[in-house]
Amino acid sequence: MYTREKVIEKLIFICAAVSVAAVALITIFIFAQGMPAIQRTGLLKFIFGTDWSPTNGSYGILPLIAGSMAVTIGALIIGIPTGLGCAVFLSEVLDKKQAGFFRSAIELLAGIPSVVYGFFGLAVIVPMIRAVANVFSPDAGATGLSVLAGAIILAIMILPTIVSISVNSIDAVPVTYREASYALGADRRETITKVVLPAARSGIFSSIVLGMGRAIGETMAVLLITGNVAVVPHGIFSPAATMTGTIAMEMSYATAEHQQALFAIGIVLFVIIVILNGAAQAVMKKFGGEAA
C-alpha cells in the first residue's frame, strides 16, 4: 500500500520535472547544433559580421540583429504610449462593467494567431506603406515590406502584454497615494502622471521588457511583412530581416553548414530572451506583483 503511494508520488514528481528536462534538452540541443558554426566563423565575426550570405559561406548576423532591433524598437515606440494609454483608460477611466468589455477586447487581440497578424499586415498595412513611401521617394522602389510594417504589427501584438501587466501594477497602487494627491489640490491628470504611474513604474517596466521579449521572439508576422532582406535597414521604409524570420525561412533549404549557422542564430536569440525574461521576472519579484 505504501509502496504504491511512493511510486505514484515519484511518477508525479517526474511529471513536474518535465519542464526542467525540457529546458535542459532544448538548451543542450540548440547549443550543440549551433556551436560548431560559431566556432567556425569566430564569435565576434559571427555577431558583428555584416555579410549574411550563406551561399558564399559568409555568416555575419549583424544585419539580422539590426533588423530584429529595428522592428522591436519601432514596436516599442508605437506600443508603449498606446499600451500605457489603454492601461490608464482601463483602470482610471472606465467603471467595472465597461472595463470588463475593454479587457475582453484586449484579450481578443492577444488571441489572434501571429500568422493572421502577418497576413493582415501583408494585405492591408504593406500596400498602405508602399503608397506612402512612393509619395516620399518615388524612385526608391519601395514595396511596403519594411521595418515600419513590422513595427506597426508587432506593436499591436505586444499591446495586450503591456496593457495587462501595467493595469495590474496601476491597480496595485494604494488608494492612499491618490487621496493624498487630491487632498493637496492636484487634479486627476496630475495624480495619474505624477503619482500613480511613477508608483507603478516597476510593473510597467517589466511589462515593457516582456513586450520586448515577445517582439524579438516573434516569427510569422515579421516573416510575412518585413521583406527578409539581410541588410542593415537604413530607414523605416527599408526592408529588413529578423533573426527569427531568417531561421524560419532558410531552414527548409539549408545545407548542413548553413543549418548550423541557423542554430547559432537560435543560440543568440535564446540568450537574449532568457536575459530579458529573467530581468523582467527579477524586477517583478523585487517590487512585488506577478507576471500575467
Binding site: P81, F89, F102, A105, L108, V115, E218, L223, G266, L269
Partner: protein
C-alpha cells in the same frame, strides 16, 4: 478602488478655483482635457484596430468558407479545392498534443500543490517552468527539428509536431490546474484523510474532481495556442498536403497552410477563407474558455 476615489473626486473643488482667481484653472483644465482626450483616442484607436482586423478578414473570408472548402482536398497547391487534409492534420496534431500534455501538466500541478514542501527543489522547477513558458516558438521549432525529427528519427511528422506542441502548452496547463487546485478547501482533504484514505486516493477522488472546470479551461487555452502555432510546426511537420495516414506522416495545419498561401501569393480567396476560419476558431475557443471560467467561479 477607482469608484470610491471618483465619487470623492466629484466632491472636491480644486484649490485653484478660489485662491488663484482663475489664473491657473483654464490652463490646468486644458491640460486635463487634452490628457484624457488622448487617452480616449488611444483606447478608441485600439478598439478600431481590433474591429478593423476582425472585420476585414471575416468580411473577405467568410463568403469563401463553403462546405466544399471544408470537405474537399486541396488541389494545385491549395489554389483550388478545399482544405480537408489540412483540417485533418490540424486535428491530429492538436488532439495528440493535448492528450499528451494534459496528464503531464495536471500531474505536475498536483505535485506543486499537494506533495511539495516548498524549498529549493520546487523553486527550481517553478523557475524552469516559467523559462519554458517564455521561449519563443521558433526556438521550439529548432529544438523539435533537432531532437524529434532528426535525433529521435521521427522525421517530419504528426508526432514530431505534436510532441513539440506538448512542450509549448505544458506551462499553460500547469498554471491553470494549479489555480484550480488552490481553490479546493483544505477541509475536503482533511475530511477524506480522516476517514482513512491515502493522499493519492484523496487527490484522485476528492480534489481533482473539484478542479474539472479549471483543468478544462487550461486545456482549451492550450488548444487555442496550438491551433494558432505556426513557426514551431513549420520546422517539424513537413507541410504535406496529403491526408496524414499515420503518426509519422507529414502534414499541414490550418495556420501553416495560411502562411504558405499568403507567402506564395496563392489564391486570395482561399487565403482569406483560411484566415477567417482561424479567427472564428480562436473566437470560439476564447468564448468557451470564458464561459467555463465564469461557471467555475459561481
Amino acid at each position: 478602488m477607482t469608484e470610491s476615489v471618483k465619487k470623492r473626486q466629484s466632491g472636491i473643488r480644486p484649490v485653484t478655483e478660489t485662491s488663484l482667481k482663475g489664473r491657473k484653472a483654464p490652463r490646468k483644465e486644458a491640460h486635463e482635457k487634452a490628457f484624457f482626450g488622448m487617452i480616449w483616442a488611444v483606447a478608441g484607436l485600439t478598439l478600431a484596430v481590433l474591429f478593423l482586423i476582425l472585420g476585414f478578414i471575416l468580411v473577405k473570408g467568410v463568403p469563401h468558407i463553403t462546405w466544399t472548402f471544408l470537405s474537399k482536398e486541396p488541389e494545385a497547391l491549395g489554389a483550388e479545392g478545399g482544405i480537408f487534409s489540412v483540417i485533418v492534420g490540424t486535428l491530429a496534431v492538436t488532439v495528440l498534443a493535448v492528450l499528451i500534455s494534459t496528464p503531464i501538466g495536471v500531474a505536475g500541478a498536483v505535485y506543486f500543490s499537494e506533495y511539495s514542501k516548498g524549498g529549493r527543489i520546487i523553486k527550481i522547477i517553478r523557475f524552469f517552468t516559467e523559462v519554458l513558458a517564455g521561449i519563443p516558438s521558433i526556438i521550439f521549432g529548432l529544438f523539435g527539428f533537432a531532437f524529434f525529427v532528426v535525433y529521435m528519427q521521427m522525421g517530419w511528422s504528426v508526432i514530431a509536431g505534436a510532441l513539440t506542441l506538448t512542450l509549448m502548452i505544458l506551462p499553460t496547463i500547469v498554471r491553470t490546474t494549479e489555480e484550480a487546485l488552490k481553490t479546493v478547501p483544505m477541509s475536503y482533504r482533511e475530511g477524506s484523510l480522516s476517514l482513512g484514505a491515502t493522499k493519492w486516493y484523496t487527490i484522485k477522488k476528492v480534489v481533482l474532481p473539484c478542479c474539472k472546470g479549471g483543468i478544462l479551461t487550461g486545456v482549451i487555452l492550450g488548444v487555442g495556442r496550438a491551433i494558432g502555432e505556426t513557426a514551431a510546426l513549420m520546422l517539424t511537420i513537413g507541410g504535406s498536403l496529403n491526408i496524414p495516414t499515420s503518426l509519422f506522416s507529414s502534414t499541414r495545419t490550418i495556420a501553416l497552410h495560411l502562411y504558405m498561401l499568403a507567402s506564395e501569393g496563392i489564391s486570395d480567396d482561399k487565403t482569406y477563407a483560411c484566415a477567417a476560419l482561424l479567427i472564428m476558431i480562436v473566437l470560439l475557443i476564447n468564448t468557451a474558455a470564458n464561459r467555463i471560467g465564469r461557471n467555475i467561479s459561481k
